[in-house]
């Protein structure tokens, strides 16, 4: 077995010029195209969902641009550096979360972000990447599947930031952070019997934890089970978004012509519920096309993850790929009435600053992990 860095002379014969440029940028072409298509579709929808506010579209495009730069930057960072930086990023994130919680406690209210003057910054967003990085870092050196002791440490690494985030209170983000971390452990080869045992414990824990949820959080879950019970209050969001999607039909009502969205019956139409606008205005065809783009991106990302060779890279890349799908599924499931309303944006489409950048940063890391891999030459 001989290891060698990506050899230019080896690839020159088969790759086109643009592919060579992508390769030199350490960017994956198909993934980039997939993400770009989603982002463009998102901007088109944003124009309609914001009530033809070109300003909102420009802001959204700016964030995508910033995200793209961050992605390109991360793609060029060497995986070794990322791995070494993981604990630093993680600890910094924990510190910021504590600051936010303390400020929120003093300010006696929900506090999720730090005002940096020029932008509001959510430390919990960092954790969406820092937690899987930390878990992957921790398990990198250790034999897999992880031993019970290593498992406990990993669980603790996940639990602390999740607890701090839920305390903000931000149940949705806390859950996403937990999922990103747990995915690393699952990909690391957690035994099936432990998975089943933990699922049982989780069920009991969920029942127990129910009493710790805030009233409005409990209400969201209860109302999810039967939204019709409170059509003007808690159930309003779900009912209106289902009306929007359902009335869209197969081909939709047309761009900028969705009555639910345009007449403001649909709440949060440019943020969490933008998928309903797509369903209403572009119909089943548009929504399915978007889902197809998402699954393509997820599939490509997982393919890239499988190509990486180091444990750290594999676990992190896999987690990033699957977490992305989890975002999509939770958001689309929530908007179409399959899941409770938890406040998860539709990645790359929903209006909202930090998450757009985090998602693209994740893909930048994924590209870095893939493109800096050492090829095995036969």
């Amino acid at each position: 077995m001989t290891y060698g860095s990506l050899d230019a002379s080896y690839t020159r014969r088969t790759l086109t010029r643009s592919a060579r440029m992508l390769a030199s940028l350490k960017v994956d072409g198909p993934l980039l195209v997939g993400l770009a298509l989603i982002a463009v579709f998102g901007l088109i929808v944003m124009y309609s969902a914001s009530g033809r506010d070109i300003g909102a579209v420009l802001k959204s495009a700016t964030r995508i641009g910033i995200g793209a730069i961050v992605m390109l930057a991360f793609a060029r960072v060497k995986p070794g550096f990322l791995r070494r930086a993981a604990p630093v990023l993680y600890l910094a994130g924990i510190a910021l979360l504590v600051v936010v919680d303390v400020v929120g406690y003093i300010g006696k209210g929900a506090q999720r972000w730090l005002d940096l003057g020029f932008m509001r910054f959510q430390p919990s967003e960092i954790m969406k990447i820092a937690v899987p990085m930390m878990c992957a870092w921790y398990l990198h050196e250790r034999p897999l599947p992880p031993s019970p002791a290593h498992l406990l440490v990993s669980a603790a690494l996940i639990f602390v930031p999740v607890a701090l985030t839920v305390a903000q209170p931000d149940l949705g983000t806390g859950m996403l952070i937990a999922i990103a971390g747990v995915l690393v452990i699952l990909l690391a080869g957690l035994q099936l019997r432990i998975i089943l045992a933990l699922a049982g414990i989780a069920a009991v824990g969920a029942w127990f934890g129910w009493s710790f949820l805030h009233d409005y959080q409990q209400k969201r879950v209860l109302m999810f089970l039967d939204p019709q019970t409170d059509p003007l209050g808690a159930g309003y969001h779900i009912i209106q978004s289902q009306i929007a999607i359902g009335s869209g039909g197969i081909f939709g009502k047309g761009w900028m012509n969705g009555s639910q969205a345009q007449l403001e019956f649909l709440p949060e139409r440019s943020t969490d519920f933008i998928f309903a606008v797509i369903g209403e205005e572009f119909g089943l065809v548009g929504a399915a096309l978007l889902l197809l783009l998402y699954t393509f991106v997820v599939g490509r990302a997982m393919y890239l993850a499988m190509q990486t060779q180091e444990t750290f890279a594999r676990l992190l890349a896999g987690s990033i790929a699957i977490t992305f799908f989890v975002y999509v599924f939770i958001n689309a499931g929530m908007v179409s009435g399959l899941l409770p309303v938890v406040g998860v944006p539709l990645p790359l489409v929903s209006y909202g600053g930090t998450s757009m950048v985090t998602v693209l940063a994740g893909f930048g890391i994924l590209m870095s992990l893939y493109s800096h891999r050492k090829l095995i030459r036969s």
Binding site: G249, Q260, F265, T311
Partner: protein, 626 residues
């Protein structure tokens, strides 16, 4: 025992990772298909259901009230019209806290605390998305006040609507009626769907009786609303095609009333309580229809407060009471021409028959004395004199010879004891007594017997016999016509508001009274005599006549203070005075107007009522009535 140390096996780990990724990929695919299935369920299977819901969300039907028909007098003067007015409206489903909102409206002075409960009831009686007027006719200051506080009142807004306006205020109010907010009772008798968007409904008089014609047909308009219920012009880039049904304006009413005559009559009555009804004998047109005191119908359209309404209800003069239509009084001597005619028709008396009046009449075999009401003794009088000078003794005797049943039988076709059939609602039939009536009306057997003395009193219009001023005017018009009667009517014609086409309402003939021309002539001569020489009204209504008048005075005894009136000492003496009547028609030979005037507690008919009747006739005949 081997140490529990494991070494990283990269190949093993990579294979395991690959398997896990495949499993994850499978799960991703499965969840994607689940999502797709959900979309198909919503967008294909249940598409129609959700389309209906979204349509119901965005399109709301807003009523377009039809403008209410105008009311004009016979000369085309507008007496009821529609003027733009600002009003406060509330949509219940857009108001977060109804009682709180209403209380805050009271706080800023736009609602009266008295009306709070009624307003809340009114709002709740409408559909939750109806815009309900809670305060009518805001003035400029109130509009400004609301504008300042508007943000505090979601679901409450100022709207311009056409409001009913009566430019002449009190004038002819008891004929016109008024419009007011639709009450719960009104809701029972109308088609709610047809009245959606209509805020006011006719309450009395012509406004109520011709509600159907005046109301017109409301239209409707589909409007696009956003989630807040506000009307919006477009839905995103798209302007949807919305239907509008244009309202059909209500028809205009052309009254028989002559506003000039009406005004003269009201002014002549002035502050006194009473009624004047003037009828054109040729067709039953009511030229003047007065009941005093009146009230300003504009207050009802504006939204009368509880206090204002209580004041009207508690007023001892009862301004809301339509005396002309619903006030029943003894006719007094005004009935004498009819009794005289009955005597001639039944051949009980001859025109030339003289009777000596010594001021007192005794029934044969009875010691009870029936006295002459006023002027002592008339000496020897014939029938014409008896009418002209209102000799009670003559009519005591005549009534006694006719008998109550023949009197009752004869008076019925003259319009007594039943409604005249005037074209507004609420008319009282009065009371035409007879033996049969008395048998039915009283419970105790000893009360059911008709006494001869009661017949005697009947001859001069006292006793059980009760008439309304409208009935007396109707009766006078039959005398004027020498027997032919027409149903009195306030509305002469209906004009289509769109085409302007006028549909005349044909006069409706009533029962006629059969008597020979000579018999009629005798009675009319008697009535003419009342205005001449020694006649009862010669000095008052009969002065300086430029046309011939046939008339009859009457004085109705007041027995007691009405049940609904408060006992106030200083008022009693005045209110125990007799009611004053005068009926007349002119010109006597070819009558164009028949008038009945009642002045409550006005004393003798000749002084109280007769001058008013003269003014009314002058207004119609001399000052160029049509």
């Amino acid at each position: 025992m081997a140490a529990n140390v494991r070494i990283k096996d990269h190949w093993q780990e990579q294979r395991m990772f690959g398997r896990r990724c495949l499993v994850a990929g499978g799960i991703v695919a499965a969840l994607s298909i689940l999502l797709l299935g959900r979309l198909v369920t919503l967008q294909v299977v249940r598409h129609d259901y959700y389309t209906d819901l979204s349509q119901g969300n965005r399109v709301r039907i807003e009523p377009l009230p039809a403008p209410r028909g105008l009311i004009l007098d016979r000369n085309g003067t507008v007496v009821a019209e529609n003027r733009p007015a600002y009003q406060l409206e509330l949509v219940r489903e857009e108001v977060p806290d109804l009682p709180g909102t209403l209380h805050r409206l009271v706080d800023i002075g736009l609602l009266s605390a008295d009306d709070l409960d009624d307003t809340q009831k009114l709002v709740k009686s409408h559909r939750s998305f109806d815009s309900v007027p809670i305060r009518l006719r805001l003035d400029d200051e109130e509009i400004a006040t609301f504008a300042v506080h508007r943000f505090e009142f979601p679901g409450v807004d100022i709207r311009t609507r056409l409001a009913r306006s009566y430019p002449f205020g009190e004038l002819a109010v008891h004929a016109l009626g008024y419009v007011g907010a639709i009450s719960e009772q009104d809701l029972g008798r109308i088609d709610r769907a047809a009245y959606s968007g209509t805020t006011l409904i006719g309450k009395l008089g012509v406004e109520s009786a011709f509600e159907k014609e005046l109301h017109g047909q409301n239209g409707s308009r589909e409007i696009l609303v956003n989630a807040q219920g506000r009307s919006v012009q477009r839905q995103g880039a798209f302007v949807p095609n919305l239907r509008t049904v244009t309202p059909v304006a209500g028809e205009d009413l052309i009254l028989a009333l002559d506003l000039g005559v009406q005004k003269v009559a009201e002014d002549a009555l002035g502050a006194r309580r009473g009624a004047v009804v003037a009828i054109d004998p040729d067709n039953g047109d009511v030229l003047a229809f007065v009941s005093r005191p009146g009230f300003d119908p504009n207050t009802f359209g504006r939204g009368i407060t509880r206090t204002e309404y209580r004041a009207l209800l508690d007023n001892i003069d009862r301004p809301l009471f339509n005396r002309a239509l619903r006030g029943t009084y003894p006719s007094g001597s005004t009935i004498k021409p009819a009794i005289a005619l009955a005597g001639l028709v039944y051949d009980v008396v001859q025109p030339a028959d003289h009777r000596f009046c010594a001021g007192v009449y005794r029934l044969p075999g009875s010691s009870r004395m029936f006295r002459e009401g006023r002027s002592g003794r008339h000496g020897s009088v014939d029938l014409v004199d008896a009418i002209a000078r209102s000799c009670d003794v003559y009519f005591y005797d005549l009534a006694n010879r006719l008998g109550v049943d023949r009197i009752a039988e004869f008076l019925a076709p003259l319009g007594f004891g039943h409604v005249t059939g005037i074209d507004i609602e609420g008319e009282k039939p009065g009371l035409l007594p007879s033996r049969e009536w008395k048998r039915k009306a009283f419970a105790r057997p000893q009360d059911q017997v008709w006494f001869p003395g009661e017949t005697v009193n009947f001859g001069i219009g006292q006793g059980y016999f009760l008439v309304t001023p409208l009935q007396l005017a109707h009766y006078t018009s039959i005398l004027a016509n020498r027997g032919t009667s027409y149903k009195p009517r306030l509305v002469n014609a209906i004009r289509d508001a769109v085409t302007g086409a006028v549909t005349r309402i044909a006069p409706v003939k009533g029962a006629s009274v059969a008597a020979t021309p000579a018999q009629w002539q005798t009675v009319v001569e008697g009535m003419e005599g009342a205005l001449r020489g020694r006649g009862t009204a010669a000095a008052t209504a009969g002065r300086n006549m430029t046309y011939t008048i046939a008339g009859k005075t009457g004085t109705a005894q007041v027995f007691s203070v009405g049940q609904n009136e408060k006992y106030v000492e200083k008022d009693v003496a005045e209110r125990l005075r007799d009611h004053s009547w005068f009926i007349a028609f002119a010109p006597a030979e070819k009558p164009r107007i028949a008038v009945a005037v009642l002045v409550e507690n006005g004393g003798f008919g000749s002084t109280g009522a007769a001058p008013i009747a003269r003014k009314v006739m002058d207004a119609w005949l001399v000052k160029g009535g049509a």
